[in-house]
Assembly symmetry: C2
Homo-oligomer: 363 residues x 2
């Protein structure tokens, strides 16, 4: 499978999904190219905004928190392209980069949240010279990354008690270290439970069309030595029926003020199945995934991606030419199907507007 | 996609999924090699039982009724291998072939039903000489094929009124002409409605791991000019939620006396989703799919297939090496989730043991 079979083993607990390599003036955004996993663990260095935009758009970096971090560093790349002598030029280039990166993907709100933070640095720049502004942007992007590392571990602590000892946990898509700086949201909860010695088995939905469950989640869990069984998405219901699943936990791309949650396509179906089988269904997501400006999930834009992803699994045609395809990348799970949402501020349960705002208001 | 792009168009309503080419003494079992569709419409001629066994085992021919027909002709191939001078040798070879073919796949009961019929011909052979027995077996296999053609069309007539004009119909896997001699069970119902001028749209689940929905159902519907949208299995729930689906119809591999129905993995999940959205869920299957010897679905053996099918979509690795995989080829949908079962004798609804036996007892 792997051309370098020994390489991935070394990174088990030392994942650097997105990082900055070098200093602010000459460094690059270094990404694990997730389209190459699990066969190859290779890094992609983005030296300009265009390269970073392409990496987000084509899912070389994906997962709501990771996209936010990558985009924040993308603003640094953009700002730097103006040189660093003219403060006004740096400001303009930073804002231009931010506006451009906003168009890379529509659903995950962490992208917009991170870019808002970067634009606020520009707005507050005041008398900073170009070089100082660049440094300030670089520091802010680094803060977003460092906060993610801390937040994911806090979610792990808040959520780890939910994991059923000796039970089966179903997850969908990848909400692990590869979806964040290094640790994960939904998988972070599982990692924290495993670190406490809780034994459980994970069922990983492969997650068509792009197979993040097979390629990324199965790999991450294997790397960490957590027992994992890969299944096709359509097997989830049958595994529940057969008593294999005692808990479902997934990540999120955008959560409305009432707790309605957009996540990878198929999440909604899993939530309906979990409810039908009396299995608790949890979401793990940082506060930055909440979009309190929208009252419910009907306002979340759902990205429709290219038909080729569906018609060409693993790049090879499976469907007749010219076939019509639907390829929504996300769906929305209504709050009433969600048992609880694990955040860095604690758990939102039951999931309703009052609990959402109360928990997010905690320090 | 296709090396002969014009070829498939000609077969739109002239599918010969399984047929006998030539006479009983020198002919072959001719199959559409379904592993090559939709890229290539090619035929495979099986001249001996081993070739036919392999074709069934590797899903070159699949679909419960088509497997039954193919296996029946397989007995003819087996019987013929003994020459045709020694009646006893022909009988033994026929029974041996039948016993061998019984081990090709465990779930679809039509296989055993067809082989039972062939073995009864052997048992009743009495004073037939070898050549006469061979002819009798060949005629019986031909009857099974011809009955399937008739039965599928009868199901179409019984079921066509269920199809919602202007609505969306979801189907899973392939229960079309490629699963039968030429017309289909679930898709036969849709073809009959379309022939009456009813307009509707089909949503075809791609049906991982082997993508029969993408490769076969989408192709069959496209060939017949019925509007079809291909979706990944995990999109079915979201399409229902968005109001795109007004009916679900699928085929079956084995139906217990109480109506519990084994069908392609994922069917159970679709049935749960349909129930949650108030959408009627139908099965279309001939009487030969019923196994009245078992009271309920818990007695249906579920084939577990090779992990490679899951880890290597379209033959290319997607999952890390050594990953554990579950790959049940079928699941069981309990009768209470099934709105009705369309058979050649009419519709079983509600689905319960009394209705099952009453409808199957009709002439």
């Amino acid at each position: 499978l792997s051309s370098e079979p020994d390489k991935p083993a070394g990174v088990a607990t030392d994942l650097k999904t997105v990082s900055w390599a070098g200093d602010a003036l000459t460094g690059v955004v270094r990404l694990i190219d997730q389209t190459k996993l699990p066969g190859e663990l290779s890094y992609l260095d983005c030296r300009d905004v265009a390269a970073l935009f392409e990496a987000i758009r084509s899912l070389r970096v994906r997962g709501a928190p990771a996209i936010g971090i990558a985009a924040a560093y993308g603003v640094v790349l953009g700002a730097r392209s103006a040189g660093w002598s003219d403060a006004r030029a740096v400001r303009l280039a930073a804002v231009e980069a931010s506006q451009y990166l906003r168009t890379s993907r529509p659903t995950a709100v962490n992208l917009f949240w991170a870019l808002d933070r970067m634009e606020r640095v520009v707005e507050r720049a005041g008398e900073l010279n170009g070089r100082e502004l660049l440094a300030a942007l670089w520091v802010e992007a680094g803060s977003i990354l460092e906060e993610d590392r801390r937040i994911c571990r806090a979610m792990g602590q808040h959520g780890k008690g939910l994991v059923p000892a000796g039970g089966g946990v179903l997850t969908h898509c990848n909400a692990g270290g590869l979806a964040t700086a290094d640790y994960g949201t939904a998988l972070g909860v599982l990692f924290a439970a495993a670190a406490d010695g809780v034994e459980f088995e994970v069922y990983a939905d492969e997650t068509r069309p792009l197979l993040q469950g097979a390629r990324l989640t199965a790999w991450e869990l294997q790397q960490r030595g957590i027992p994992v069984t890969l299944i096709c998405d359509n097997m989830a219901g049958w595994m529940m029926k057969r008593g294999k699943i005692q808990m479902v936990i997934v990540g999120a791309d955008r959560i409305a003020a009432n707790g309605d949650t957009a996540n990878k396509i198929g999440t909604y179906g899993v939530a309906v199945l979990a409810r039908a089988h009396g299995i608790p269904f949890y979401v793990a997501a940082p506060a930055s995934t909440f979009d309190l400006a929208i009252p419910d999930g009907s306002h979340i834009p759902i990205e429709e991606r290219h038909a080729h992803e569906v018609t060409h699994p693993q790049g090879r045609a499976a469907a007749p030419e010219g076939i019509r395809v639907a390829n929504p990348a996300f769906d929305v799970t209504p709050a009433e199907l969600i048992t609880g949402i694990v955040t860095e501020h604690g758990m939102i349960a039951p999931v309703n507007p009052a609990r959402v705002s109360a928990v997010l208001a905690r320090p």
